[in-house]
Amino acid sequence: MDNSYAAIMARKNEIIRASVGMDYSSFEYDGIGFDYEAMMAATGYTLPELQRVQSLFSVGNTPLIELKNLTTLARKCAPKGKGARIFIKDEATNPSGSFKARRSCTSVYQAKKLGYKGVVTATSGNYGAAVACHAAMAGLKCIVVQECYDSRGIGQPEIIEKARKCEALGAEVVQLTVGPELFSTVLRLLEETGYFNASLYTPFGIAGVETLGYEIAQQFRTKYDRDPDVVVCTNAGGGNLTGTARGLLKADCRAKVIGASVNLTGLHMASDEQFNKKSFTTGHTGFGVPFCVNPDRSDVPRSAARPLRYMDRYVTVTQGSVFFITEALASLEGLEKGPAGNTALAAAFRIAQDLDEDQCIVVQETEYTGAGKHINPQLSFARQNGIDIHFGDPKDEIPGKSIILPAHPSLIQVTDVDLDRVRRSNIKNAVGTHKNELTDQDIQYLIDETNSNEEFVRNVIANL
């Protein structure tokens, strides 16, 4: 069999169909769009069924913790009467240590149900640990493919820790140097093994996160007899935000959903030289923005993660601000967690200062911490790589050159991403060369995709 890059990529559709057990072409419209809700429904799992599946894996029902001291700190930085109550959903208490457990256990359950002998997943992050964990529980084999090293063979400590954890849970870890051709390696492994493709972006994975949003609403109503006002989600590939928002809507909770990413503007995600210049391997703009513009850049034909459909606002925070807030969470709340999951917390800390004291803002995840995956080794690694780390005003931080730790918590700021600009890019990308062939169904699809309106969509198309 021809295993050249081009030949493997040419077999992509048949490999995906065989390895996900889902025919994506059945959801395609005649025009540019597809039936998203039909694809989500094709999992065959209702929300109560998802909760049941997750309980089989001891996933979910994580604590909702009020961060009273961090709230006090935010109020000290805010005008009088401002400073919403800050809450965090302690997803690190899931087996495998992150919200990704919700995403993986439905995939692994589905793989087992369909009779696959194992699962393959492409991830350098917590998702690998989650898949390895649930594969272990289900008695399935597991291969995790990581983008791990630069051309000097130097690996990101955070990713190496994930390799360790996956191996500890019985998985085979395949490690690669920098490059998007990781996808072709995954396809080849799927073909070789006949395993299930536990992609991050199938409907199974995203539907699994719906329980998180649903749980937040339920816990709030039980404990505080009200709904939260704002839910902040760390945003990378978009699945976290998409699933959480869908779960909130299923609970009829109308909290505003805000995405937050670490600002890594200027760093190219496929650059060998810049790979180890970043101190966040996920939750950053290098994934967050491109996946909003084109969700289908993922490893399945149609991604179930479509964050632009659900985002009310999208903000960025600096690396230094996230490191700062991670240490504050440990020092003020006794919660030592991994930094990447605290991206949304840094944003919430600032957004809370614009809200009234009686309002409630929820950060919907934490992640586990450990060697390599902790502010201390990550800052050490940055310093070793020549990154200038100092106290100052985070607005002066230059990704890849400096990490500026806020000299005072009041210096933590959020920067709004221009969502209309992202929407325009999304539409431009979706329309491609089909500008003159668009049907009313296509227009409605674009309205849904961008959470906008007909006037906005038609205006953008007219200006393409």
Binding site: N69, G118, A171, Q175, G179, E327, S331, N376, S380
Partner: protein, 99 residues
């Protein structure tokens, strides 16, 4: 010398620079795409030999032997004094001062 049955790490070139995707920045494209896999060695060998291993999933993989008894060395880094200062600062602002 690594013995048959030892846990080892092997290395492969998946794509030579000229075989890589066109959609890559120049600094990445000048390097090959490399891969490392671990498994049980299938015959006695020296570092640098082409060998076969059986991985944790039972897959047979071949490549150059690069590491005998591989283990993890990542840790909690060295002292970052700024981290201590952040802890002191937020405690002082939150709890200190008024009383």
């Amino acid at each position: 010398m690594a013995k048959k049955g030892d846990w080892v790490q092997i290395h492969n070139i998946v794509l030579k620079p000229e075989e890589r995707s066109d959609a890559l920045p120049e600094d990445t494209k000048k390097h090959p795409l490399e891969m490392w896999v671990k498994g049980y060695l299938q015959s006695d060998a020296e570092i640098g030999d082409e060998v076969e291993v059986i991985t944790r999933t039972g897959r047979c993989a071949s490549g150059k032997l690069v590491n005998e008894a591989p283990y993890f060395e990542h840790n909690f880094g060295f002292l970052i004094p700024e981290v201590l200062k952040i802890g002191d600062m937020v405690r002082e602002i939150t709890f200190g001062g008024d009383d």
